[in-house]
Amino acid sequence: MAGPNGHTATTPRWVKVFVVVIVVFVLAFVVVRLTGLGGDHGPRRHASSGATAPGVPYDAR
């Protein structure tokens, strides 16, 4: 119910939807990291193997 200044005392529905969406994204991120589905990821990918290791020849493109 809206209060005298137009604000509700309960949590609005859009906030609940937002929280659910954020939780889903965080869970998906954790699952991807734990299962390795996302492959080698992040800036360290370049530090260990060198910048050109996963590349393709320039002329082949």
């Binding site: 200044n5 137009g6 604000h7 509700t8 005392a9 949590t11 609005p12 859009w14 906030v15 937002f18 990821h41 992040g42 800036p43 990918r45 370049h46 910048a51 050109t52 290791a53 996963p54 590349g55 393709v56 020849p57 320039y58 002329d59 493109r61």
Partner: protein, 176 residues
């Protein structure tokens, strides 16, 4: 904060936030061009252009948006934790800035690979598509929140809005 200073801070906040979204969109366009083009020169040019866009446009605009947003929250009636839309906008901005800072190291590596060698690291482009696409999406959400300002005050905000009790002992408030 004086009204003139408040308006100036608000202008800087809007300009930096919208600029951040625009620069991130330009970066996304370069990633898409590099992923889809068959022209090697265009791909190399896109790699080289991504680094200055990231370091000279996106990162400064992100920090400007974050700092001016904090100023807006702390020195206006909106507060930082009184309204749900402000809380979400702050969280998303901090998250986007953190991911951005982690990703800029990869951007520099990609640019170095394009500048120093005759091979291009195309594997990193899919990660760039994910990061920049996700970033643009998050910034569109924060922009929408800032414009629509959906209703909803946090429990903290409700406590701050409640007037201090100043009634005689033994009397009942209208809500009781």
């Amino acid at each position: 904060m004086t009204p003139r200073l408040r308006k100036f801070a608000f202008t800087v906040h809007v300009a930096s936030s919208v600029g951040w979204l625009g620069a991130a969109t330009a970066y996304l366009a370069l990633v898409v061009a590099a992923l889809t083009s068959e022209n090697a020169q265009l791909v190399r040019a896109a790699y080289l252009a991504m680094e200055p866009i990231a370091w000279l446009a996106i990162v400064p605009l992100a920090f400007a948006s974050l700092v001016t947003g904090l100023v807006q929250g702390l020195w206006t009636q909106w507060g930082l934790f009184r309204h749900y839309w402000v809380v979400f906008k702050l969280l998303l901005s901090v998250l986007a800035t953190a991911v951005l800072l982690l990703n800029t190291q990869t951007v520099s590596s990609l640019a170095a690979s394009a500048a120093d060698t005759d091979q291009l690291d195309t594997a990193g482009l899919h990660g760039q598509l994910l990061h920049s696409g996700g970033g643009v999406l998050v910034l569109l959400v924060t922009t929408t929140l800032a414009i629509y300002k959906p209703r909803g005050t946090t429990p903290y905000g409700r406590r701050k809005q409640r007037p201090a009790p100043a009634r005689p002992a033994g009397s009942r408030s209208p809500q009781e």
